[in-house]
């Protein structure tokens, strides 16, 4: 429950939005959220491809793995935000805007805890982590509700 969701409208067509998000990720991914300095960031465009950065010396840091690649409609990848942080899953969906001025593209990001492609590493612990996250968010929601009614 309660994944982090973001939706944004961009004034360009679907194919271009998808291409910029994926092939040109290095140009928009904030430099403040990288592990390596002056790195180049890349998502390999196939299931099992790496989501990684590489610096000028050739050092690489893998942040995740591609779980789904359905150009130009949808991608899904695992991501460890923070150095050895727990794996999370990001799903990005793109669709042409047919509701407003009938041009442009909607981009919808869903960021949730697991599941990831690391079952062989974490096994059932990923499931445990997911349950913990769910539990914590539920407690948090309860607390907000309690604060509001107080």
């Amino acid at each position: 429950m309660n994944p982090l969701e973001k939706r944004i409208h961009v004034r360009c067509d679907l194919a271009h939005a998808f291409e910029v998000f994926t092939a040109r990720i290095d140009l928009w991914w904030p430099p403040s959220h990288r592990k390596l300095e002056n790195s180049e960031m890349q998502i390999e465009p196939f299931v099992g491809g790496r989501f990684y950065e590489r610096d000028a010396s050739g050092q690489e840091h893998v942040m995740g793995e591609v779980r789904a690649w359905e150009a130009p409609a949808r991608i899904c990848y695992s991501w460890r935000p923070g150095s050895p942080a727990a794996p999370t899953e990001v799903e990005v969906r793109f669709w042409g805007d047919d509701t407003r001025d009938n041009e442009g593209t909607w981009v919808h990001v869903t960021h949730r805890p697991g599941p990831t492609g690391d079952e062989e590493v974490y096994g059932e612990r990923v499931a445990l982590f997911e349950r913990a996250w769910t539990h914590v968010l539920a407690s948090y929601a309860d607390r907000i509700a309690a604060d509001e009614s107080a």
């Binding site: 727990a86 539990h135 914590v136």
Partner: protein
Amino acid sequence: MAPPSFASAAALDALGNPTRREMLQLLGDSPRTVGELAEAFPISRPAVSKHLRVLEEAGLVRHATEGTRNIYELDLGGFEAARRWLDGFWDQALARFKLLAENTAPGAKR
């Protein structure tokens, strides 16, 4: 007091360890003493204490002392900070993405 971005990165890093994630899950069920946590894991009591210290420094758990016992419970503030960090990240990243996509669109108007 560490700035929020630092605190939440620490929370995300603390979550990177599977034993610590299991500890959080147990503590999510109910507060526990160090001894109770040590019984639940095949690791030494000092190792349990060490994990708890990492979790506490990351703001994910807190403890209360009752007599000679330390009782640990989840500290929701740390999870809130981690979520805010991610939330802020996506706002910043998507704004940059939008700018780039719109300015490089073939035949862009406006």
